[in-house]
Subunit: 260 residues, 2 copies
Amino acid sequence: MEKMEENVNESRRSFLSTSGKVLAGAALASGVLSQARQASSYAYETDYKYVKLDPQKVGQIAYENYAKRWCASSVVAGFVTELQEKAGGSWKTFPIDSMRWAHGGFAGWGALCGTMTGAGTIIGLVINETDIAEAMTNDLAFYYSYSELPNFTPTTFSKTAVHNMTIAGTPICHISVGKFMRAEGVDFLSPERAERCARLAANVAVETAIMLNDWKDGKFKAKHKPLYNVLANGITSQNDCMDCHGNKVPDTNKYNTLDK
Amino acid sequence: MEKMEENVNESRRSFLSTSGKVLAGAALASGVLSQARQASSYAYETDYKYVKLDPQKVGQIAYENYAKRWCASSVVAGFVTELQEKAGGSWKTFPIDSMRWAHGGFAGWGALCGTMTGAGTIIGLVINETDIAEAMTNDLAFYYSYSELPNFTPTTFSKTAVHNMTIAGTPICHISVGKFMRAEGVDFLSPERAERCARLAANVAVETAIMLNDWKDGKFKAKHKPLYNVLANGITSQNDCMDCHGNKVPDTNKYNTLDK
């Protein structure tokens, strides 16, 4: 996986270099990034307590919930079911289905993969500092985008085999699921696609549980720089500009006054 | 706005017709849609009570929170600040900042506009039936995508003027904010872009409050068919296939067994 990320970063560097943005990006990333992070981060109160959980169990619960609750609330179910029992408090009345609308990239609109919304909700309820929640969700977006997924193996017998893992290159549902459908040769309403999304929900739940456990132990460390994409590309973005724009990537630095 | 939606639907119909998908889409939309909705909807428990709120006040609070909390948690702030006082209960301990990670389309990744994540969270916590939460978030995605926004006028004095309203055509942050930046001629880190997103958060909060008030009065009625995009296009999607794909829109019905 690290190798893949290196390749992705290399592609972005080539692109930035070619379009003459690399210096602006580097300048932004060094000075402004730290300023922006410092200025914008703060602690907040939350009474949603976290206790360390077995990531595989959280993943398995997410997997088993998928058929009923779909992607976002399945990830929520993985954590809330366990935390209601083991941490209690506010978790006891948190409605697991409250995030179900986030399925299919917002009620089927194909935007952000619902597994990310579900995981982000748990991270945000648990973590009481905005910069740590930011770093953790950012790392999760990298994991989702540049890992071959799903590789979760359910402990319960599954009737449906999934033959392909794919690299989404983005946390956007439409593209992520579309790449899988093409690889697997199945339509959206197929059992294989549903099985894939159930396993993907499990993978995201497992990865999130690992990070939250590390945080609970005081050893969570961000793997990637938060907000780097925004500052390097001059807009909220991913590292796949040319996927949609072709070679005609708009020059967002045209109006950028920060490096003048 | 209705006129715009008609145009959008007309474009999609032309596209579907051209690519020979219109019959499959229609067949799916009529029979399978109602089955899918019926099978998948259920009631759930929530103790997050809703009382009718003044939409303009909710919008104004969202607007005022933006500089600190950014898009998602600003919409959350609009509701939670009011509901903590007027409905009490679980709202009193709900951490407003728990959804801040959703800013910039997920920690700056440009996917789903954070205002939608914030609004969806409130809708999901309040509404206790999955099909109503689905319909309301779906209507919100139509509102966001096909309205000229932002048109919210803050009651407090704002130092920054915003000269352009734009039609995003999508709830995706990167595209939505990119269209505004191009129209306004400003970069992402400009005061105008921040002001635009603050007003947009207010607009989304107002629209959500209007729908929730209607629901509280027992008169909420969906304007659009939920899951239509999924079934008509054969994948979680929007009505802008050609924006990214050009004319090479993959034939997702290739593997579709439902209309055979």
